[in-house]
């Protein structure tokens, strides 16, 4: 095996201690951290190729300026792990902490951001409300004072926020898991899960049956299809989310800019492509096709902020699936109904940034059989307890 080999192909073993369904950032990160905790007999089952799902389709925004104390603490844990990830995995995942700006164009928006700034500061997060003049200084190219349908009134500035090379994160975790002894099985689709006597005993795949006592559902947009196999209803709906990139341009934009009034966000990658997206499509669907209406809307709003981009070309548009919960927060941990069945789902439009934290905590949870404190607010049972973690205002457009 060459030293540079990332992950290997294996035959399916007859049984594994832990079977993780879904080869996205959550599945792979959990596997990696499990191997570090000494659990090594793990299979990651991926129906297509690793990164096929949201983890290969997202726009890689990373930040922790959320709204609720529970959310902020959790995402902050993730940002800190991301800051060390390149060293930890010895793979340059290109984390650019250039700063993240959420714009407000009306009074209500300003109030919402101010509330977040207050809460963030209380929790020790570098985040503050800034005025148009400072916005213009940070981003001189943006149309801050020029004619605009909805003039910019303030912004939430979050210096540690930024973007990352999402595929690199996926590959690096896969390599880490592989080196730790886990088996990454691509083109392996789970078709059924056996749970006699209320406990997981095996999964059935297109390549055969695997015995296991522990299954983790990490399939994001497909999460309910997996939970259907064990009759666990999830409080989530799958919506498409779209994005596009421009042709590569000499970098001129060094912040992530988000505007929920304009339904748009934009950043520029190290390759020079402008990366832009919006909110989820408002219909339920598993379709991965882009729509013209999205491209038109995205372009229109982008040009409000950056009119000089009119002659810059869109190169490619695409869609991914988002598993949206009512409170815009994830669902993690064991489920009460079936022993050995764990979930890390509900990652919606914001789950990429959470990969390290959720992987890290889910690994602890699975290895120890105890729910780490930081995960507690996100248990599935919160819906029955009616104790939601309200992140909608902080997570709808600004993933």
């Amino acid at each position: 095996m060459p030293a540079s080999r990332m992950w290997r192909d294996h035959e399916l073993k007859e049984s594994y201690d832990v079977v993780i369904i879904g080869g996205g950032v959550h599945g792979l990160a959990t596997a990696y951290y499990l191997t570090k905790l000494g659990v090594k007999n793990i299979a990651i089952l991926e129906a297509k190729y690793i990164g096929f799902g949201g983890s290969g389709r997202n726009t890689a925004i990373i930040r922790s300026n959320y709204r609720t104390p529970e959310g902020i603490a959790f995402y902050d844990h993730s940002v800190k792990l991301y800051e060390q990830l390149a060293l930890d995995l010895d793979f340059n995942v290109m984390f650019s902490q250039h700063g993240h700006l959420t714009l407000a164009h009306n009074e209500r928006g300003v109030t919402g951001l101010r509330e977040r700034a207050h809460t963030n500061q209380l929790m020790g997060i570098d985040s503050r409300l800034i005025q148009p003049r400072e916005i213009q200084e940070l981003c001189p190219m943006m149309n801050v004072f020029g004619p605009q349908r909805y003039p910019i009134q303030a912004a939430l500035y979050h210096p540690p926020g930024g973007i990352i090379r999402h595929d690199a994160v996926v590959w690096a975790y896969a390599r880490g898991a592989d080196r730790g002894g886990a088996h990454v099985h691509q083109l392996t689709e789970v078709n059924d899960i056996e749970t006699p006597n209320g406990a997981v005993s095996a999964v059935v795949t297109n390549r055969g049956r695997i015995k296991t006592g522990i299954v983790l559902n990490a399939t994001a947009g497909y999460a309910s299809t997996i939970c259907d196999m064990v009759n666990i209803p999830l409080a989530l709906e799958t919506h498409p989310l779209q994005a596009f990139v421009s042709e590569a341009l000499k970098p001129w934009l060094h912040h992530v800019i988000v505007s929920s009034t304009l339904h748009i966000y934009i950043s520029q990658s190290d390759r020079g492509e402008l990366v832009s997206g919006a909110e989820v499509d408002d219909y339920l669907s598993y379709s991965l096709r882009g729509t013209l209406a999205f491209a038109e809307g995205g372009a229109t709003h982008l040009l409000e902020l950056f009119p000089f981009l009119a002659n810059v070309k869109m190169l490619r548009q695409w869609a991914g699936l988002c598993d949206m919960t009512p409170d815009y927060s994830p669902i993690m941990g064991p489920v009460d109904e079936i022993k050995g069945f764990y979930i890390t789902v509900g990652w919606g439009t914001y789950g990429f940034k959470a990969g390290p934290a959720s992987g890290h905590l889910m690994a602890q949870c699975i290895q120890s059989g105890k729910t780490p404190k930081m995960l507690e607010p996100f248990l599935n049972s919160r819906f029955l307890r009616d104790q939601l973690v309200g992140e909608k205002a902080a997570a709808s457009v600004s993933h």
């Binding site: 060459p2 540079s4 080999r5 990332m6 290997r8 297509k48 190729y49 290969g56 104390p69 060293l87 793979f91 340059n92 290109m94 984390f95 164009h105 009306n106 209500r108 109030t111 919402g112 509330e115 207050h118 209380l122 190219m141 349908r149 090379r165 595929d167 590959w171 690096a172 042709e247 590569a248 341009l249 000499k250 001129w252 190290d270 390759r271 020079g272 096709r289 882009g290 729509t291 013209l292 491209a295 229109t300 982008l302 040009l303 009119p307 000089f308 981009l309 009119a310 002659n311 810059v312 070309k313 869109m314 190169l315 490619r316 548009q317 695409w318 409170d327 815009y328 009616d386 104790q387």
Partner: protein, 946 residues
């Protein structure tokens, strides 16, 4: 009818001058930039993405990245398809100080240090180094430069069309498809990205009798065919929705049927140095030769395994150019031309030269000694890849066909057809037939075919199934050498070795390979490299090409300017103004944006406006509220289902406050519900939620088809204004013939009255806590009624009041604003609206959840508070208890009526009792406020009822 669009430059007799990198260049009439540059002997047009290698004309069809320049500040323009205007300034990209000498070409020498994916393996240790490296990368990455001074003054527009059949591609197949469909009776739109119809045969007539092209002249005159040239269909979206770019215009076409006759992309041959300026694709060379009137100075070597190679040699010779040799990959020569040196059974191994081709290294295909033929041009013709992007986008399924060495459509999306070279047919007469077949098939799907035509269709289908697709290339279009600089992807500088290395590292899935090596992710989106990358992947892994699969082809088929997607400059965004807007303007109102609406925030000092309402009379424009009328025998059922409130017992002429929640019991919106008649209700929603509630109602009406209800959204049909204050009745009396006394129109009730001579719905309600009337009239009379009320109110010192005064007034009464005082987690109980929820109703949206919430008891609550002192905390201030966050302030103002600061806040249930003290954090201070159950004004509601 043919539409040439605005890009079709009609250059005057003598041509035009432009500058390239400062040098003056002259273009002959009709020439593109590329033709003129070629004539001027300028062959290095850009520097490549990674290694900064010199690049020149290659495909000449606007697909490859090699000729991308900036034109008058517009980045990444493919100059091979753009025509110059006098004075245009063209600048090469990704080069400094010039394209001829580019400092960064040092990367080309360092390629050993920059293997595929090197950036993932370096620069991250120690941690502080990455930001430093990154800032350097960000200085050199990217291609074109954005013109930050571009003022966005260009005009863009959109055209919407509907038709029976769209034909994409005006080559032989497309022309005949359009003609056949139109003759059968269909309305047809024909789209072609070139300035003239005819496609490939225009510069490579080959075996075809030019008369076949005659059909193109008939087409232009055909009454049922509308033709757009210089127009690129870049998207084939769901349901045959075709997006076309024509210059600065986007054409959106809804078609019933689509025929994709998009031809093929010539596939490059992969050999060492295959990206040198002077290496061209055959069809590119033909375009320069036939369309641009260009010459090739110096000896030419042609590399081919196709008849087109021989035809090209013939064309070149006839025009007096020097073909030094034709290298035929087949063992037996595929043709013979007098005086042409043919090297059959040979292949090219490398191009030599530094900044331009100086020679071609040729070897026998079965091994043997290499010879170098000095030449200045290497032109390759090794077959076509079907241009399947649009078909793929539309949902057609493709499969690898080993006989043809191509991916072919095997399952078509609904209403989509394909014809011609995209189906693998290259023989012109077969393309004609296949086009006709596809046109008839489209017409057939529309039910247009006569018996004769149906027979003709069947006959064509069988003829075509027997005809050969003649373009199977020789075994491989990748030379066997072990060289390092065999470029597979010229957009991203990915070599064959890079791909093989990546596969060895584990990136073996074609999609992973693409993302890691970035192959096919550049400007051409895989048009130049897809077949070769798949073939290399298969060869290196030792598996079948079919098993490799393909990468996904995504819109747009060709990159589209954002201006074209957006349309219209300056950018169009809806602004809604009420019927009284101009009055407000004249009265000096300051406006705020409420969704798409403009609303007066204040006219003068909100304090004066507030006092006018409390002491005299005020008038506010509430036209922006959502207004819905529901009629039918089942409306009551519907309302009982939608709202947690009860409505069955609402008497005719009565009004009730209602709040809507979702399935989780979360408050969505509130408003007033009026019963106008047994089966007729009229209701209002808040401004911000008007559209959402409209959708919510329609969604549930669809879910309850058995209910007989008709819903009309009256939001913009009616203007609304609220006349409020102790004198409001006096004013209304003066302008209404109806009885508006407290007995005839008590609080809360509704009446249809005549106001200022206009039929109006008058609601006796009081959001601001005073005697008041909300008057809804047809919008066209809104201003008239407003004026009449203002006139009648003069004696009472009536004042218009804005949103700010209204907010203060309602806060006195502790009336919440959904979305301001509540968020996506506020349920009806916590929002302190328990009296609305009637759990004993049979069923309603949210009942299950509200039941549970009630059982477990509230955890937090929206409360009113009073605060002494003069410091008004921010809205959004946090409420803390022992250092941790427990709540937040949602609304806060100074209240003249209460004589103190008052507000609404979310607090934990333990701190929500009357008299509890809460700790509001403001600017580092801690402010102690007192929870108050009662409203801050008119606790008994006497004023409302007066």
């Amino acid at each position: 009818m043919t539409d040439h669009g605005s890009t079709e430059g009609h250059s005057a007799g003598n041509g035009v001058q432009f500058t390239f990198d400062g040098q003056i260049v002259r273009a002959r009439p009709g020439q593109t930039f590329a033709g003129a540059l070629h004539d001027a002997g300028i062959h290095t047009l850009s520097r490549s993405f990674k290694y900064h290698r010199p690049r020149g004309l290659f495909c000449v069809t606007g697909r490859c990245p090699n000729c991308m320049c900036s034109v008058n500040g517009e980045p990444n323009v493919r100059v091979c398809t753009r025509k110059p205007a006098a004075g245009d300034v063209v600048k090469p990209q990704n080069a400094w100080p010039s394209v001829r000498f580019d400092i960064m070409s040092i990367f080309d020498k360092m390629h050993r240090l920059l293997p595929v994916g090197f950036y993932y393996k370096t620069m991250h240790k120690p941690r502080f180094m990455w930001p430093i490296f990154e800032s350097v990368i960000r200085r050199i990455a990217g291609l074109g430069e954005v013109d930050l001074s571009n003022g966005g003054s260009e005009q863009y527009d959109k055209l919407n069309l509907f038709t029976d059949v769209v034909v994409v591609g005006g080559g032989l197949a497309g022309l005949n498809a359009a003609y056949a469909a139109a003759e059968a009776g269909a309305d047809v739109i024909l789209i072609d990205d070139q300035p003239t119809l005819g496609g490939h045969v225009q510069h490579d007539p080959g075996s075809i009798d030019v008369h076949e092209l005659a059909v193109r002249y008939q087409i232009m005159a055909h009454p049922r065919i509308q033709t757009f040239v210089s127009s690129t269909a870049f998207g084939l979206y769901e349901e045959n929705y075709v997006a076309v770019q024509q210059g600065n215009r986007m054409i959106r076409i809804r078609a019933q049927q689509t025929v994709v006759a998009s031809g093929g992309w010539e596939r490059p041959y992969v050999f060492e140095n295959n990206d040198l300026p002077g290496v061209l694709l055959a069809s590119g060379a033909q375009r320069l030769l036939q369309q641009q009137g260009c010459k090739f100075d110096g000896p030419i070597v042609i590399v081919t395994d196709q008849p087109i190679g021989y035809r090209l040699a013939d064309q070149l010779k006839q025009k007096g150019m020097h073909v030094a040799a034709l290298v035929d990959l087949h063992d037996q020569p595929q043709g013979a031309i007098e005086g042409l040196r043919v090297l059959a059974g040979h292949t090219i191994q490398a191009a030599s030269g530094k900044s331009h081709v100086t020679g071609a290294a040729i070897v026998p295909t079965r091994g043997g000694t290499m010879q170098t033929i000095p030449c200045q041009w290497i032109i390759q013709a090794v077959g076509f890849t079907p241009a399947t992007s649009l078909l793929y986008q539309s949902g057609c399924k493709l499969k690898y066909n080993a006989d043809l060495d191509q991916h072919q459509v095997t399952e078509w999306a609904q209403g989509v057809h394909s014809a011609g070279a995209v189906n693998g047919y290259h023989e012109p007469l077969v393309c004609v037939k296949d086009g006709t077949r596809a046109g008839l098939a489209a017409a057939n799907a529309l039910g247009l075919l006569t018996t004769d035509l149906t027979k003709r269709l069947t006959q064509l289908e069988s003829e075509i199934s027997q005809s050969t697709r003649d373009c199977k290339p020789t075994a491989s279009y990748i030379s066997n050498s072990k060289d390092k600089k065999k470029f597979v992807c010229i957009c991203e500088d990915v070599t064959e070795k890079d791909l093989c290395d990546a596969i060895d590292e584990g990136y073996a899935n074609i999609e992973t390979l693409k993302r890691y090596s970035t192959i096919s992710m550049g400007p051409c989106q895989g048009k130049m490299c897809q077949s070769a990358s798949i073939a290399i992947c298969a060869r290196h892994k030792g598996i079948d090409i079919e098993a490799v699969g393909t990468t996904t082809s995504r819109p747009p088929e060709q990159p589209v300017p954002l201006g074209v997607l957006a349309g219209q400059a300056p950018h169009f965004s809806l602004i809604r103004r009420t019927a009284m807007h101009h009055w407000h303007e004249e009265a000096g109102a300051r406006f705020l944006d409420a969704g798409t609406w403009k609303r007066p925030e204040r006219y003068t000092d909100p304090h004066d406006e507030y006092q006018a309402v409390r002491k005299g009379v005020g008038l506010i424009d509430v036209s922006t509220l959502g207004k819905i009328e529901l009629r039918g025998p089942d409306v009551v059922k519907f309302l009982e289902f939608i709202y947690p409130n009860r409505f069955a017992n609402l008497a005719i002429g009565k009004v009730r406050y209602g709040a809507i929640c979702d399935e989780a019991g979360i408050l969505l919106d509130d408003g007033m519900i009026c019963r106008l008649d047994e089966e007729r209700f009229y209701l209002s929603t808040s401004t911000g939620n008007a559209d959402a509630i409209d959708s919510w109602f329609r969604w549930w009406l669809t879910a309850k088809p058995q209910w007989d209800i008709s819903m009309t959204n009256m939001s913009t049909a009616l203007s609304g204004m609220n006349l409020a204050g102790p004198h409001s009745r006096d004013v209304l009396r003066r302008v209404s013939t109806g009885d508006v006394s407290n007995e005839a129109l008590p609080y809360p009730s509704v009446k249809l009255l005549d106001v200022a001579g206009v039929p109006a719905i008058v609601l006796r309600i009081g959001f601001v806590g005073e005697l008041g009337f909300e008057i809804h009239v047809p919008s066209q009379y809104g201003l008239h009624v407003w004026n009449t009320l203002m006139e009648a109110g003069k004696d009472f010192d009536i004042k218009p009041f804005g949103v700010e005064a209204q907010r203060r007034l309602r806060l006195d009464k502790k009336h919440l604003l959904p979305g301001v005082d509540t968020d996506a987690l506020s349920n009806m109980y916590d929002a302190d609206l328990p009296w609305i929820v009637k759990l004993d109703k049979e069923d309603f949206i949210g009942r299950w959840s509200l039941n549970r919430i009630k059982e477990r008891g509230p955890k937090q609550k929206l409360i009113g508070f009073k605060l002494e002192g003069t410091t008004v905390p921010d809205e959004a201030s946090l409420i803390v208890k022992q250092g941790s966050l427990v709540g937040r302030v949602t609304s806060v103002r100074y209240s003249p009526a209460a004589g103190s600061i008052v507000g609404l806040a979310w607090v934990p249930i333990e701190s929500s009792k009357n008299g509890d003290i809460i700790d509001i954090r403001h600017a580092g201070q801690s402010l102690k406020a007192v929870v108050q159950d009662d409203p801050f004004y008119d606790v008994a509601g006497e004023r409302l009822n007066s």
